[in-house]
Subunit: 246 residues, 3 copies
């Protein structure tokens, strides 16, 4: 198996961090067209899908295959890169190692046995009635505000308004975004679901810099959050199960 | 009772932080002319007085009344505001809640029962012989330097010099400000008192950005620290009891 | 004994921090030509030598003598200085105190009894076959990268390449600097030694801002790291014992 590629440090860092928010170890699918991954968090509450096209790379060469990586170590290593650095990746199939070079440094990371990593999740087929497109930072802001009063947040649609609401024992906070304040909103049915802020908070860290995210919502249904990375040459999707409103 | 107002986030933040440095919960007096408060810290060592004129607000409407607020929560909520944000405040007397809106977010904070909050202190009538006007940052600097050697600081006047002095077991630090380095100094009697740095440190955080503060001192007497906020449309006064020099 | 001097806060801060990385208390030799020091860390693993010429000072006056200082306190005090501050130093031999003045503040630090401080180490005479001159930040970068996989780092020369290498249980990292990437390299024999990152990490903090450092290496021999401070008016030398490669 061959895998050899060069990519901007920033793009690789953002990509790996979007995944490591949910899982510590992951199994990547490599192929001539690019890299992809599907993973579910240890508690089976959230799922991440990830695709990075070969076009996101400065140079890219890969046959079909699968590698397991320790994302914590990888994030650590990429933390040494300056944003202007190029990162070189090369698989050594014999030694089961990935070599990562940047700015004169060269790391050699042992691969994980893919069979030791949780299996890819089955993606549930969901037909969610609400689709909203908004600035990633608006969701981030709502999540941070919600954290000041509760561990949970309600996301839903009320007429032409996408709302995010959190209720503490005595206090509450609400962010309402009208159709004008959103990039787009289409609703073919009611939507109101409760989510754990633990998960949304981690996910929303990846959204700070994202101009446009799409969320799909239903009534007591999971939320889907999709956004592009790598200047449109990659995409990340999160799926988060709802909690029951008490 | 009616209370409805809009104010710069920065002004409100500075105001509340100047109070929350001493007390976690506070009882505000509202009225057509503005807001005011008097509070004493739980240990009865320090007192804060606060006034914010209706002129400090973009819009302001209030009847006479009293509300109790959890300042920790309020500081937390205001921490979400950008400095350019406007903050809207509105009292809902029926639900006993204060609604706080800013940048699309709307918080609803439960009021505290005013009778559950410590009574307003009696302000002692003090005739202190020294009055000095100086840059707030000079006091802040002296307090931070004093913390490197001791838990206490001595403030006093020696001839034409306002001095701040701290003595550790083996080391000491002293900041002397001559009349030239002060904005003003008048002394009609001796002044030298010892204060706990715990309190002065918290208080002096609010003074960092204040160009002009007035302090009043005596011999083993409390210190009074007064300064304007909200571009001259509000004022804060601290009173701190002395410790006995051993 | 007389000692009276004025110096840039920045220069004094950098000087003291380069020493305090190894020892908490130190015995300085004072004299008409300047200040110097030799100290060994409590575990006898590393040594620092330090010289600061009278030319590094704005004004300088000293007779021959020796003073003991608590470096932790001194670093703390200097932390209060702005980088543009001038720091005045003056010894009071009668009270056994050093007075430090800056920006209106004046500190009085008790001297330590020089006889209570560890004796000056004997400097081993070493003839190390490799001498490399490089940017201080390159060593700093290698040390930080090594810390992501191990507690130790190997420094050595392989042909025309100065290499720094660390091996964890499964992963490794290597920085190779060719003669072109170094300022200079001369090798009259083999060099490869293992060092504890604990020590090198502390030392390399002082190297971040240093354009040119010289290191001397041998085979399982100590490393010497030398660099200039105070715009060429001072120098610091570290000597670190090797660990045995297992």
């Amino acid at each position: 198996m061959v895998f050899r590629a060069v990519i901007d440090a920033d793009i690789l860092k953002d990509s790996i961090e979007a995944i490591s928010t949910l899982v510590d170890e992951a199994k990547f699918k490599l192929g001539p067209e690019g890299i992809s991954l599907m993973a579910v968090d240890p508690a089976n509450v959230a799922m991440v899908s990830f695709e990075l096209s070969s076009k996101a790379f400065d140079s890219y060469e890969s046959t079909e295959g699968e590698i397991g990586l320790d994302l914590i170590k990888l994030v650590n290593v990429l933390g040494m890169a300056k944003s202007s650095d190029k990162v070189g990746l090369e698989l050594n199939e014999k030694t089961h190692k990935l070599s990562i070079s940047m700015g004169g440094l060269s790391y050699t990371l042992s691969l994980l046995d893919p069979s030791s990593i949780r299996k890819e999740p089955k993606v549930p087929s969901l037909d969610l009635p609400v689709k909203a497109t908004l600035n990633g930072n608006d969701l981030r802001k709502a999540v941070k505000a919600a954290e000041t009063v509760s561990d949970h947040i309600i996301l839903g649609v009320d007429g032409d308004v996408l709302f995010m609401e959190a209720k503490g024992d005595t206090d509450q906070v609400r962010l309402g975004l009208t159709k004008d304040e959103l990039i787009d909103l289409t609703a073919s049915g009611p939507a109101r679901s409760l989510f754990s802020l633990d998960y949304l908070s981690d996910m929303s860290k990846s959204l700070k810099k994202v101009n446009e995210i799409t969320i799909h919502l239903g009534k007591d249904y999971p939320i889907k959050i999709n956004f592009m990375i790598a200047n449109g040459n990659g995409k990340v999707g999160y799926l988060l199960a709802p909690r029951i409103e008490s």
